[in-house]
Symmetry: C2
Subunit: 126 residues, 2 copies
């Protein structure tokens, strides 16, 4: 696909991907993709990341059911960052059971949790 | 600072940082910080990145005047991504003279520019 040829992947063949709620613009998470996962994301219209820890494709929601339906996809000015606008199924993007992964807010000299756990991770992952 | 000790920087001593408009939640850019730049960002209440190409601190707006005033700072669940909520001075975050760096939208098999150039880069950088 021609559009993929323009993308600059890093030395590990990866690109950082921000996902954002398509309605509220809330940033949900940052993960990584390789060329194959990005291609699958576009084809399937669902987010497929590359897990750096497991070193394999990560079909978002494959275990949790919390998949991300692709609405729009953007590339930055340097062609080396991707932004997805998604519909977050279940309203939970984070493995901690929260809506967004960015729930730790700097408050003085400490990080404070600012959002509720919607669903217990044990209930999500069994 | 205790809060900085909890952050996981990558093998190059860097962490990806998303900046987002504090009012509209528009994602403006993704850049990188090292420990020193993050510490300065918190201290100065203005975004200071680390330029990987120039290999030095990048005081956002030092040339363009388009600095980013820090409103809130978040860390993700893995402690390895930072999200800044900022007031974008001049309304231009991108070096191309656009509001956001994410102006290339995938439309079929092509990337299309979706936002206007607010100010000519030659007028910004002289």
């Amino acid at each position: 696909m021609l559009a993929l040829e323009q993308i600059i992947f890093n030395d590990d063949g990866l690109i950082p991907v921000i996902s954002q709620d398509f309605k509220t613009n809330e940033v949900l998470m940052l993960a990584w993709m390789n060329k194959e996962s990005l291609s699958l994301t576009i084809k399937n219209k669902q987010a497929v990341y590359y897990s750096r820890s497991r070193k394999k494709l990560w079909y978002k929601g494959e275990e949790s059911g919390h998949s991300q339906i692709l609405k729009e996809i953007y590339m930055d000015c340097d062609n080396d960052v991707i932004l997805l606008k998604v519909e977050q199924i279940g309203g939970i993007a984070c493995h901690t059971g929260r809506r967004s992964c960015f729930f730790q807010k700097l408050d003085g000299h400490k990080w404070k949790n600012t959002s509720e756990i919607i669903k217990n991770p044990e209930d999500i992952y069994g």
